[in-house]
Amino acid sequence: MITVRNLEVFYKSSRGKFMALAGVNLDVEKGGIVAVIGPSGCGKSTLLYTLAGIIKEFKGEVLIDKTPIDPRKHRIGLVLQDYGLLPWKNVIENSLLGLRVKKKITKTDREYAEYLLSRMGLSGLFTRYPGELSGGQRQRVAIARAFILKPDILLMDEPLSALDAITREEMQDLFLDVWKGDSISTVFVTHSTEEAMYLGKKIAVMTGPPGRIVKTMDNPFFGAREIKDPGLYFSIKSKLKDLIKGRQK
């Protein structure tokens, strides 16, 4: 469970203070998945980095299962747009990196990692380096790494936006498939309305700067590839687009 209350984040630069987030409230229930959608530069990544414990200076409350966020105590799975893999580690080393920082790697961990990687379609590539993989394959490693960690929360920062349309849909399905097995509380940042409506049980619309969440809504189309009610689908979609654009002007 993730609880964010009145979150304010400032960036300091030579020209003074810049307000990146202005009073953000967000709830992700246990086993929930919230898609955060908004235009570029609205503070989505800032919100995610605060949840990940990377940004440590903020006002307000960020709680994970009712305790203040602390990356040393909580297990945080983070998947970034540029994959966040270390170029000098091969697939298996990269995928176990998260666990290795937290504890000693056992044989069971290694087997689980190999199982998940294979399920992600990466069998036979375990000793490859990130430079020897395609973009889609790299992103699979990054996603597998997050799940191998068995995290308390999962944070994804536009993880699929660098992929081509076909790979992207494949990865969305694969992600949901693995995610449903573990049902980890997840925040999924995206700038695509389609992706938000496919992957979010709830959708939070963010505008900025300074970043605010202007609307949180339930999404009846979570995990649905076939749209049974196109009328409703497109009305929600255009509502989302209006919310994103309307506040931007």
Partner: protein, 246 residues
């Protein structure tokens, strides 16, 4: 691949010697003997006269570079990672780096004596700055996103150094060592002209004083050879990183 590389080296060196030969035949002066004469001389005197000088010079260069790399990379990595260390040390480095430290040779010789220590010290104080600056900038240029996944795992500085800083800096360190090796050889030649009767630098200058140009060219050739071996060794280390770098 290795055999092919060796072949390429031999071929290119062979071309250089042919050009040298032609130039020498055109000049026709004892100042510029043909390579064949130098090679014949080398075959006769290498083991009896030159080898001991060459070995000592290699020792001075390698010892100097190793100390330089140790001091330089520790300082550079800390400066790159901790902004506060950089802020204190940068002005010091920038102030001392451009001072021609060759000019300090007399002082170094007074402080460290005429022996090995003063020669190695001079190599260190001249090459260490390149290594410090290369290492510092390498760490500073690591994209900050690279650190994010470890930060979000609650990793401390030691883990970050082990998992990110050291592996990212290692290939760049080799570049710094290459630069350092070239400088070290030049510095060595200079230091071996003072207060010593050993070392390839001494051998070359001594041959020159004795107007023995064939010996002098033999020494120069050996000095070039030392450089070639050093650089090839560093290149060989490069292959460790070849896979993830390419």
């Amino acid at each position: 691949m290795k055999v092919k590389n060796t072949g390429r080296y031999i071929f290119i060196l062979f071309l250089i010697f042919i050009l040298w030969h032609i130039a020498s035949a055109a000049v026709k002066s004892p100042l510029f003997p043909p390579p064949t004469a130098v090679f014949c001389n080398l075959r006769e005197v290498f083991f009896s006269k030159i080898a001991v000088h060459a070995a000592l010079s290699i020792y001075r260069i390698v010892a100097g570079l190793i100390i330089s790399v140790l001091i330089g990379s520790i300082l550079g990595l800390l400066m790159g990672f901790y902004h506060s260390v950089d802020r204190v040390l940068s002005p010091v480095i920038y102030f001392i780096y451009p001072i021609p430290k060759i000019a300090l040779l007399p002082i170094v010789m007074i402080l460290f004596g005429l022996g090995e220590l003063s020669k190695i010290t001079l190599i260190v104080i001249i090459t260490v700055f390149q290594i410090v600056i290369t290492m510092r900038d390498t760490v500073k240029n690591i994209p900050k996103e690279t650190f994010y996944s470890l930060t979000s795992l609650g990793a401390g500085d030691i883990v970050v150094f082990k998992e990110i800083i050291l592996p990212a800096a290692a290939p760049e360190l080799l570049t710094a060592v290459r630069l350092g090796a070239g400088t070290a050889i030049s510095v060595l030649f200079f230091t071996e002209n003072f207060g010593t009767v050993q070392g390839i630098g001494y051998f070359i200058m001594d041959a020159w004083m004795r107007v023995n140009y064939i010996d002098m060219y033999s020494g120069i050739l050996v000095l070039g050879g030392i450089g070639l071996i050093l650089f090839s060794f560093v290149d060989a280390l490069d292959r460790i990183f070849y896979r993830w770098k390419n």
